[in-house]
Amino acid sequence: MVEIGLAGLPSTRWRRARSRLFHVLMWVALAFVVGPALWLVVGVVARALPGWRWNVLTTMSQGTSGGLANAVVGTLVLMAGVLVLAGTSGVLTGIYLSEFAEGSRGVHLVRVAIDVLAGFPSIVLGYVGYVALCVGLGWGFSLLPALMILSFMVVPYIAKSTEAALHQVPTSYREGAEALGMPGGHALRRVVVRTALPGIVTGLLIALSIAGGETAPLLYTAGVTNNLPTWSLLHHPIAYLTYYVWTDWNQPSSAAHVVSYDASLILVVLVLVMLVVARLIVARTQRHAESSA
């Protein structure tokens, strides 16, 4: 006789109830994530839109009032500088880790350094930039220390996303290039990197959106000014959008609050545009990959 003991097991009704509870909790959790996200974006837009004037983009700041042209240009300059500095070194590091790392010495050290740097608190980066570069080397609040600190922050991210993009290039592409007699470097440039380009660009865009939205590393390295950025790398402070959000929200005057909300709106739009573009690139290459497969 085989006895199937059901006595000790939970009843079906109890199990169904638990499953229903699981479904309810699932929706509650989703609401807890999507709700605040929409609340936040709507909250920023609703505060900024009523007082929005387009000349904010064309007039200079007077600290707690006026426009934000200097900050918009400053943020764009910082992002462009990060693209040049962190983009070059990050992409090259990613290529090295993906293509040449096997069996080469010191690669383990590079990987550990990237992991550690990625987890470095951004304010500690800013602190080091301030005491070592701005004060220690006497560079003052200026573009170069700000760019260096921001680049240190996003280089690990760019290197990792580049490496991941290169790893996703199909082996058959590399083998095909080799079978056609392409020299290694030529194949790398014309076949491998070109195929991985959408992934690399996506990583760069996300890194740039991180750099453009950072505050902590810039507060003590970039300084602030009411003027447009100059061409000098040292001794001239540079304005950026997050500074005005951070300083003007709790100033007494309502003009300052408007500056803070306007800066928030511009930042949100800037970041959203970059994330959407990154997303579109991913979606497009995925569709392409599926159709060609």
């Binding site: 989703l30 994530v33 350094a113 070592a132 951070w246 959203l272």
Partner: protein, 355 residues
């Protein structure tokens, strides 16, 4: 005159030589990439060495003066600016200066713990909703919304936290709990004054909202990698959705989910601006209840560096360096642990946003 066909000999030779140049260049190209990459890897290594050396050198005077007492002391006293200078262990410090990082350390750990307690279940359930509860047509845009939260600058989340979320919670949510809690030892912590929305619980929740996207999108990607057969088999055996989730899907990717959670913890520990805006920024006290004002290591560095720079002996800046070193050590330990776990689980270690 005999018309001669134009000679092609010279052209062929020129063509050959240019092809030879091109071929030589093509052979050279690979080593160029290799050398360029090699040089570029010096950037992260050099940057890390630079950061650690500067922090250690700057923190050394503070470590010499305070010793282990730095971790247990609670005072954050810059000393008298005009009271003269005294020598302690060979370091010149302002008279009366005394620094202890215990409240900062406690605040950092408390807010991060609250953030994890909120974010881990919410993220896992959200990942289930995005992979199993919803059709792809709706799940994909919602997944994008989740990823967007990861990209919103922390200063804007802080602004929203202090202007909108904090007052709402303190006015409409916290009193529901705080006024009904009996005044007995453990539960007392959940009662008492709820303040105006700037404090420990608000900071923890804001941090939680910031790390949910990191954990949720990684978890969602992991769930999508779980093969369908075991799940369908479990369902065929009569398991409910909840049982499949708990006994098949989640165990399949457990180490990856743990790795993602610890990565989120790393971000919460180091987050600066949002916490500086919603914590109330009160130095020297550990909040007596769940709602009190406090501060964290990162928020203290950003709010105190300005005034610390006015200390002529440099002792205040040294103490901030020691705080930064402490925070960096915690973050590094947490991140390396997370990456080791994620790597072992075989998931791609590419998080959304900055870890």
């Amino acid at each position: 005159m005999i018309q001669r066909a134009p000679s092609t000999v010279g052209e062929t030779r020129r063509d050959d030589s240019s092809r030879r140049v091109r071929r030589a260049w093509a052979r050279r190209e690979e080593s160029l990439w290799r050398v360029g990459g090699r040089v570029a890897t010096l950037v992260p290594v050099g940057a890390l060495a630079f950061l650690l050396v500067v922090l250690a050198v700057k923190a050394w005077p503070a470590i010499k003066v305070s010793g282990w007492g730095y971790l247990t002391g609670s005072a954050w006293l810059p000393g008298s600016t005009y009271g003269g200078v005294e020598k302690v262990h060979g370091v010149a410090i302002p008279v009366g200066a005394h620094y202890g990082a215990w409240p900062l350390l406690a605040g950092t750990l408390q807010t991060s713990a609250i953030a994890l307690i909120f974010a881990v279940p919410v993220s896992i359930l959200t990942a289930f909703a995005l992979t199993e509860g919803l059709p792809g047509r709706i799940a994909r845009p919602l997944g994008f919304v989740v990823e967007v939260v990861a990209g919103i600058p922390s200063v804007i989340i802080g602004l929203w936290g202090v202007l909108v979320l904090g007052p709402f919670l303190a006015h409409d949510v916290y009193p529901l709990v705080a006024t009904h809690v009996p005044n007995v030892p453990v539960l007392r912590y959940f009662g008492g004054s709820v303040g105006y929305g700037e404090g420990l619980l608000t900071s923890g929740l804001v941090l939680g909202l910031m790390i949910v996207p990191i954990i949720a999108s990684t978890t969602r990607d992991l769930f999508l990698q779980v093969p369908a057969l075991p799940q369908e088999g479990a369902r065929a055996l009569g398991m409910t959705d909840a049982e499949v989730a708990r006994r098949v899907t989640l165990p399949w990717v457990r180490s990856g989910v743990i790795g993602a959670a610890v990565l989120g913890l790393g971000r919460a520990l180091g987050e600066t601006i949002a916490v500086a805006m919603v914590s109330g920024s009160v130095l020297g006290v550990v909040s007596p209840n769940l709602y009190g004002t406090m501060t964290t290591i990162a928020a203290t560095i950003v709010s105190q560096l300005d005034s610390a720079a006015t200390d002529g002996t440099g002792f205040a800046v040294a103490n901030l360096a020691e705080a930064g070193l402490l925070l960096a050590a915690i973050s590094i330990a947490v991140n390396l642990a997370a990456r080791a776990i994620v790597r072992r689980s075989g998931a791609l270690g590419a998080p959304v946003g900055r870890a």
